[in-house]
Amino acid sequence: MMVMQRLTCEGIPAVAIPTIADSVNDTVPYDLEAASDSAGRVRL
């Protein structure tokens, strides 16, 4: 998002074209349990 804003500000037309790498059914590859405390809040 910041890259697009920067390029646009500099007068360079920009478009984001990502490719799907993980479907909605794939297991989230991030260990969210390890990032949360016993109350389920994100541990900072």
């Binding site: 998002m1 500099e10 799907i20």
Partner: protein
């Protein structure tokens, strides 16, 4: 001739480019040059976050491309989106929708005509928790799924 700049985040995203095109590494180790048809293409392996902004802006200022493509990997938010699907949307923003960037409308239309699936918007996140080994298949294999176009 006017060039096109492609900004990629990680090496796995550049792997398909290495297969398809002869990339010449410039004096800046993160910048690669090639031609697609008759069009010069500058590919930048720019990393993520604020670093990606600076590493993309520098070659953009040098080459002054006629268009730039921010490519990379995305996670599907809907079941109809499958690995290998290229996507395009006009707005991209954070989950709160407080801050939004906009893709160039003409380039969005071009991408859609070339086979990218139009979605309502992209959502970016500023941070992630740590990755559980071994990570997603595409990351382990070192390359993204092939485009379906």
């Amino acid at each position: 001739m006017t060039s096109i700049l492609v900004s990629l985040a990680v090496e796995a995203e550049l792997a398909r480019w290495r297969e398809l095109h002869r990339l010449r590494q410039s004096s800046n180790s993160a910048v690669y040059e090639t031609t697609v048809g008759c069009t010069p293409v500058v590919a930048v392996l720019a990393g993520v976050g604020v670093r990606r902004v600076d590493l993309t802006a520098a070659p953009a200022a040098e080459h002054r491309p006629g268009a730039s493509i921010l490519a990379g990997a995305a996670r599907a938010a809907k079941p109809e989106l499958a690995p290998g699907d290229p996507l395009v949307a006009k707005p991209a923003g954070d989950a709160s929708e407080n801050e939004t960037a906009w893709s160039d409308p003409w380039l969005v239309d071009c991408a859609e005509r070339c086979g990218a699936k139009r979605v309502r918007r992209f959502v970016t996140v500023s941070r992630t928790a740590r990755i559980r080994k071994p990570g997603p298949a595409w990351l382990v294999q070192g390359k993204l799924p092939r485009w379906k176009v």
